[in-house]
Structure formats: C-alpha cells, structure tokens
C-alpha cells in the first residue's frame, strides 16, 4: 500500500503545468492533508516538455525524489502522449491502477487504445472550454475541474477557492470568475 497519492503533470514550457500542480497541492492543504509539489528541474524553454510532481498524504512527506510510480497523470498537451519520456513514466503500477486525465478533443477510446493495461483514461476538452469561456487557450486550470470530479482526490470547490485567492489580485474579478466557471463546466462535462 502506497503512503502517498502521487501525480505527474505533463505540459509544455509556458503552459502552466507548475501552476496546475500547485493548485492541486494547495487545494489538498485546505483539507489538512500533507502535500508537496515541485516542477521538474530541467531546461526552462518555452514549448519543451516539462513535468511537475504532486504528493498528497495523511502523514508528513519525507522524500524529495521525483514521482516514480504515479497514481495519476495529467496531460495538458496530448502530443506529449507520444513522447518517450511520458512512456517511460508509465510504470507497471500505473498501468494496472492509474488514472490518466487528458486534455483532448478525441474520444476516450481513441486515447485508451494507445495504452495497454487497466489504467482509466479520462478525457476533457480543457482547451476548448478555456477558449469558449475565458477566451484564452490555457487548459492548465480548467483541466482541474474534471480531475477533481473524477479522482475525488481534491474538491473542485477547493480548487476554485485557491484559484480565487491566488489570482483575483493578479487578473481581476471578470477573468477570475470566467476561469472558475470553466473549472465548473469542466467538472460537469460529459465524456465522449
């Protein structure tokens, strides 16, 4: 039995994967969980594949190694599904019982067919929702609605609370509310 629930967020440099990880972490901390999140410490190039890691636990987290056996993988850019790096992170543990949340317009079956194993694939068109509601093609926050609703690791409400307190002073009322609406719709979105 693993002590920590572990997540890897896959994105491209500049897409905000680090923010995705931090929002999950801080939402879990609202429920008095022990948490840890950190970005992959690699080259900081726009567009380069980057990972961010999250741990959530009932006991203090000691380790500082990167996540070796993820329980959940969030993919902000589906072109990353074809990369060797992502494939090398698909441990036997993950392929047997992991959850993969993918930002894509494709169907669940199309994505699932790329992998062997019992992993659960969840699809949400986070970019589409972000474009429609916020007017920006940034999926990194919107994907969290679906993530929260399907995994139940954090509450979508807590994600919204953390987002509001963090970003209201930075992006203003209008954009904050639009993002929150997009998180809500992402949580309610039906998979195809």
């Amino acid at each position: 039995m693993k002590k920590n629930y572990e997540i890897i967020v896959y994105g491209r440099g500049g897409q905000g994967g680090k923010t995705t990880a931090e929002l999950i972490t801080q939402a879990a901390a609202l429920k008095e969980k022990y948490v840890q999140s950190f970005p992959e410490f690699g080259p900081e190039r726009s567009g380069a594949p980057v990972r961010a890691f999250v741990r959530i636990a009932e006991e203090p987290i000691k380790t500082h190694q990167s996540v070796q056996e993820a329980d959940c993988i969030l993919v902000l850019d589906e072109t990353l599904l074809e990369t060797d790096k992502l494939k090398s992170d698909l441990s036997d543990y993950f392929l047997e019982r992991g959850v993969m949340v993918v930002n894509s317009k494709k169907t669940k079956q199309e994505i699932k067919s790329k992998f062997s194993g019992k992993l659960e694939v969840i699809v949400v068109d986070a970019t589409g929702l972000a474009e429609k509601i916020v007017g920006e093609s940034r999926p990194n926050v919107v994907i969290l609605g679906k993530f929260a609703q399907t995994t139940k690791i954090v509450d979508a409400e807590d994600i919204m609370t953390v987002f509001r307190s963090k970003y209201l002073p930075k992006i203003g009322e209008d954009k904050t509310e639009k993002n929150i609406e997009a998180i809500r719709q992402s949580a309610l979105s039906e998979e195809v």
Binding site: A29, E32, Q36, F38, F41, P60, Q65, S66, Q68
Partner: protein, 374 residues
C-alpha cells in the same frame, strides 16, 4: 507556551520571504539570481504593499549587495540580503570582511552549483565555497526548516556577532510547495526582539573606526577573535533553539539523529536529501536492516562533539557531499573524519541538480555505489 500558527502550503522561497517580512529588517539589499529570486520577489511585494518598512536597496551587483549590508550593519541597521551561486562568488571579497567586522548580517541562500559549466540547479558548491569565511551556516531539509532557520539565524547572528547564512536547497526547497506552519508576526517579532546594536558608527559619544587596516601586530588577533566567536556560537545556537521550541513546538539541535540508536550503517548528509534518506531508512528498517541518518543542521561552526557522540558506535559511516573538492577529500567527509578520527566512506552526489532517488540511497547503504553517485 506554543503560540497559534497559521498552516500554509507555499514554496521555500516564499516562506523565507515571509520570515524576513515578519522580522521586518531595517535594510534589505537585493540583486536577482536564480534560485534565490522568489525570496526577494515575495518580500519586495510585501514592502510595496506596506506590510514591511524595510529600506530595500536595489544594488547593481552582489558585490554591492554585501557592501550595502556591511555599511548599513556598521551603521547599526538590521541588514539582510539573499543570494546563490555566482552571486555569492561575486560578493566573496566582502564575505570575510562582514565577519571580521563582527556584523550580524543575515544572507538567505538558495544553494546552487557554480560555473562552469553554467548550471542553475541545486548543489552545495556555493555554500561550501564560503565555509571558511567566518559565516555561521545552517542547512534546511524542508520548507518548514528554511522558514525556521531564517528566524533562528537572525537571533543567532545578533547573539554571536557574526554573519549567518541560512541555506536551503535551490529548487528542491526554494521552488517546492510544502506544508509550513507560519508563526504570528507578534511571536516572531518578540522572539528576535528589537535590534540593539552593540557597536555602531553612529555612536557619537564613543566614536569608533570600522574596517581599519591591521598590520602584523594586530591582524592575527582580529582573526583569532572571529575564531573564538565561532567556537562560542555553538552554545548560543543551543540556547536559541531551546527558546524557539517554546514558542513553535519544533525541537531543533546541532544535528538530527534519525534511527541511530542501534544503527550499524549510517549516512551523514545535509539539506533536502535528508528527507529522501529518511524515507529510504523507513523502507529498509521495515525489512529489518539497521540503518540510520545523521543530519547536519549547523554546519559552521562544525559540531564536532555532537557528530562524534552520534556516530562513535556506528560500524559503517557514509558521508554524502553535494559538492566536489578537487585533489583532496570532500568537505563534509573530511569534517566527519576529524570528528571520528577514523576513515569513513565518502560519496559525492547531486552535482548540478542531478537527482538522487531512494533506490540510489539504498545502493549507498549496500556499498554498491562508491565515491561518486554519477
């Protein structure tokens, strides 16, 4: 009595910035460098928002940052800065001047590799480069310890009349979000107290000279005073952490012994890797292996007696250095050998931010990895 504390999930950089805001120093000299930047980014915002009254001096280089700290500290101001790597290399000329002038400057360090080749990631090369300059050096395993060490370090600097560098691991701690308990502003302010400089340039009743030339008849004596002050800093640190425990509930010592009581194999390390080693020790203990960790919190002054007491009965000692000395033994390894007066196993790891996994820690315990975890 333990005070009320606020639970947050923030990065090490922001936690250290928050500690500086709570202390509200008179002067903060700032110059950006990765991975220190989040400290000053956070703190400058707080000053701009009116949550601290510090005079921020945006200097044009780290050499000037340390010079500004030395000048303001000599004038009687509680003075701080933050830096990493090349920044520390660039201010190096000023570092032993700060200690020789007995100025209680605090410099928060996010440790990072030094060039070349150019690398922005975390190791301890910068901290090790300043180890013989009369600076007290603390190392943090976690965001919580980074926050606490900044507060403890401020009080220690002023008690010991020596500059203090609280170190946290660049990126691994400075850029990671972890749970942290933040004390109230009131509790922090009362703990560090109002700064009362003992000697200042502005004492017009008893005018003094700071930083004068010292020729052969006095130079040695000045340097010896720094040596003596450093020797005395250890007991001052112990008094301060004992007071700190009363208000925070968090107990600290010169070193931290983890599963050492019956341990046959022990790793000695500093910084965030200690967490990964603890996780590995838990795993191996679960399989009945008698392994443990000795974590060094206070690196300068070197707690020679505490290290000896912790390790004297241990069969095999492995010392991890996140820094590489060329043509000689490694720094931490050499220091442990001095304490134990017997050979240990020295392993260099993590240079330029190379990750160390629990599996690799296990291989150090088994002796599969020798000298270099490369």
């Amino acid at each position: 009595m333990k005070n009320k504390q606020i639970k947050k999930a923030i990065t090490g950089g922001f936690a250290v910035g928050e500690a500086i805001r709570q202390i509200n120093p008179d002067v903060m000299a700032v110059y950006p460098i990765t991975p220190q930047t989040p400290i000053v980014e956070y703190f400058a915002q707080e000053v701009a928002d009116g949550n601290a009254y510090t005079e921020i001096i945006p200097v044009e280089s780290e050499h000037s940052a340390m010079s500004a700290c030395i000048g303001s500290a000599a004038a009687g101001a509680r003075s701080m800065t933050a830096s990493s790597s090349q920044g520390i290399m660039y201010m190096m000329e000023m570092l032993p001047i700060a200690s020789a002038m007995r100025l209680p400057i605090v410099m928060a360090v996010s440790t990072r590799a030094i060039s070349g080749p150019l690398n922005i990631h975390g190791d301890h090369s910068d901290a090790m480069a300043m180890r013989d300059f009369g600076w007290i050096q603390l190392f943090a395993e976690s965001v919580q310890e980074a926050y606490d060490n900044l507060i403890i370090g401020t009080k220690l600097a002023e008690k010991a009349l020596l500059p203090v560098a609280p170190n946290m691991d660049g990126f691994i701690t400075s850029h990671s979000v972890e749970n942290v308990e933040i004390m109230t502003d009131q509790a922090v302010k009362e703990f560090v107290g109002e700064y009362q400089p003992t000697q200042t340039l502005f004492d017009f009743n008893e005018p003094k000279t700071f930083g004068a030339i010292a020729l052969p008849e006095s130079y040695f004596n000045f340097r010896k005073q720094v040596y003596d002050a450093m020797q005395e800093a250890e007991s001052k640190f112990l008094e301060i952490v004992s007071d700190f425990e009363k208000i925070s509930g968090r107990k600290y010592d010169l070193v931290e012994s983890y599963q050492l009581d019956d341990a046959e194999k022990v790793i000695v390390a500093m910084g965030s890797t200690c967490g990964t080693i603890k996780a590995t020790v838990d795993k191996l203990r679960g399989r009945g292996q008698k392994v443990g960790l000795l974590k060094i919190r206070l690196f300068r002054p070197w707690p020679v007696e505490a290290v000896y007491q912790a390790l004297k009965d241990v069969e095999q000692v492995f010392v991890l250095d996140k820094n590489l000395s060329f043509g000689t033994s490694q720094v931490l390894a050499g220091n442990v050998e001095i304490a134990l007066k017997r050979p240990i196993n020295s392993v260099v790891y993590g240079l330029g931010g190379r990750e160390i996994s629990e599996e690799e820690v296990e291989k150090i315990f088994t002796g599969e990895v020798r000298s270099f975890l490369i």
